[in-house]
Amino acid sequence: MTRRLLALALLASTAASAAPDLSGTWWIKDRSGIAAVDPAAIPFTPAARATFDRNRAAAAIPPKERDCLPEGTPRLMLAPYPLQILQRPEQVTMLFEREHMVRFVPIDQPLPADPDPTYLGSSVGRWTGDALTVDTIGFNDITLIDRTGIPHSDAMRLSERLSLRDGGATLHDEVTVTDAKSFTRPWTFAIDFARATGVRLMEDVCTFGPPQRDTMDRK
């Protein structure tokens, strides 16, 4: 009896901790760099709408893509480059070939109270059923959500739900954007990544103008 109870308890604890394994190399399926959502369905505030229209009308690659600054979250997730996920119980780590950025997602930790604004924001994750839910706050306001030019403010919060589909061949990321300064209500788009077994991540250093040789004579 005791032994059976013990076995049941073991089974239960195994089930509770049976988070899917998101580890591996992934590559976005739609390489357009665009959040696949109808712009008409994005609940822009009037000011954000004006910014978006201005960006879209520019009909050129936005300058922010050209000055080598990081793209920020969630645009980094839309990059047409592979990424690698390392999963440990205490942290999920996303290594991006794009600009060699890294997203750190500590598990079951509280969000920082008042983080400094950054490109990628501050993330925490928790396992919810068969998905990893990632909450991110603390963004600066100088990046765009995608390459069509969807703006956001420093009030943006992201809630992502990452799960496996197609028997583990697809990583699905459902991204909900909340930003009262830019949008009248939260809105959601999804990104699908294909498992990219055998793809090796490469160095990606962006330089604006000719690279400068490292020397010791800088003032």
């Binding site: 050129a60 047409p80 480059y81 030019g149 990219a196 793809v199």
Partner: protein, 136 residues
């Protein structure tokens, strides 16, 4: 991946004669593009310089039209990793090489374009897809 351009391609052999007078309607998903992906232009000439760097590789080519002085064009290609994964090497094109390039021209008609294909003097053909090689 090479886009399906056969129906819409505007092949202009003598690039120096080309003027892009009116930009084609902007495809909804590519409104950022300064290049007109519905058009292609053939450029024959001599490589002047190759900037193998990120965010994008740039190639300067002196385009030759018989009886006229060479005209300099600047051609934007993808990121170095994107090119590498599609078989390009940093020395695939070298200054002095005689090549034929196929590019999407700029909407504004300036002497610039985005790389689609390079045919080297020895017949080697290098192509550049829109967004990098597919994962294996």
């Amino acid at each position: 991946m090479p886009m399906n351009r056969s129906a819409v391609a505007l092949m202009t052999v003598a690039a120096a004669l080309m003027t892009v007078a009116v930009a084609a309607p902007v495809a909804a998903h590519h409104s950022f593009a300064m290049f007109d992906i519905t058009k292609s232009v053939i450029l024959k000439g001599t490589i002047k310089d190759v900037h193998w760097s990120n965010p994008h590789v740039w190639i300067d080519i002196g385009v030759v039209t018989p009886g006229k002085p060479p005209v300099m064009w600047g051609i934007e290609a993808g990121a170095t990793n994107t090119l590498s994964r599609q078989g390009w090497k940093r020395d695939s094109l070298k200054p002095g090489d005689t090549v034929t390039l196929e590019v999407h021209p700029m909407r504004n008609g300036s002497n610039s374009g985005s790389m689609m294909k390079a045919t080297l003097a020895d017949g080697t053909v290098l192509t550049l897809g829109a967004q990098g090689a597919k994962p294996s």
